[in-house]
Symmetry: C2
Amino acid sequence: MDTAPTSPRDGEPRWLDDAEQRTWLAYLQATTLLEDHLDRQLQRDAGMPHIYYGLLVQLSVAPRRRLRMTELAKNTKITRSRLSHAIARLEKNGWVRREDCPSDKRGQFAILTDDGYEVLRRTAPGHVAAVRQALFDRLTPEQQKSLGEIMVIVAEGLQPKGAGADLPWLR
Amino acid sequence: MDTAPTSPRDGEPRWLDDAEQRTWLAYLQATTLLEDHLDRQLQRDAGMPHIYYGLLVQLSVAPRRRLRMTELAKNTKITRSRLSHAIARLEKNGWVRREDCPSDKRGQFAILTDDGYEVLRRTAPGHVAAVRQALFDRLTPEQQKSLGEIMVIVAEGLQPKGAGADLPWLR
DNA sequence: CCTGCATTGTTTAACTTTCAAGGAAGGGCT
DNA sequence: AGCCCTTCCTTGAAAGTTAAACAATGCAGG
């Protein structure tokens, strides 16, 4: 879109200035490229896209390797609908199984199976290496610190309201 | 996945340390949330997802509001296949039209129509506002600068080889 | 108890993306 | 010309995502 580098006139939207535009474009390109890169890496080595892998990771660090569907959805920032489909697929692969929640009959646990854990164990090193190579290894310690702070700010700003305990990892 | 905070032993992968883990998780959450946020905003206000909007934007700033398919794909970092489908959809909406390239009969131009331009004109202010509110307005000038530098580094690192003139915007 | 509303999770259909394959044109070579 | 290899773009099927609707349960208040 054309951008009028106007002085902030009344009624005019505040356009992105030159530096902001470059930052935003770089952000879009970097995040797209990184996501694609990791998707391919994991599709190749683990047989699933990046988001699915993230689901298994979340389960692997949860107590008893299980989480309620809604919990898991919150942790990974995806919709319950999407999660339902995804877990169905992972279930077919034998990496996750479901179990009814005894205390709340509406509830379902998603549980990481031994097979699922094994896939993680086998592929985690390669994945970590990919993340390092694409991201951390290219940044100075100061940049890493800054990136962390920035992403926490952005994530917190976009939390659905009333999400208090959603980001325990970030504090 | 369990992470053993080991000293770099031989054969062991170099796991992410605590700070890196937090940064990575925050990155994943922030980028997911932001993408979703903008997708919804644009789906609501412009009737298309964020990526499609980005295609129109790229066309709008190109000379004669047109780009070769491959160019457009490179600029937006998506595959040609994906682009073909996307442009087909935008064409149905009347926001883009195609035209054969006279000098290379294999080539196709994607061209922003007046209707397409009008959609942009109408929705750009709201979109910019959304980006500002979710990102720039929350960051200090130093953080904005840092974010830009970091994203350029990451994007450049993930360029497919031989992509020299792909990021003119970033220099 | 029972009514009304919220929460949990799934389902369906429409849409988008990916993957593998392929047609058509360019361009170098003999 | 003929051949080979590459680039440009599209296609169709499979996989993934989204939005809206739905059934079932929980829960608070009368």
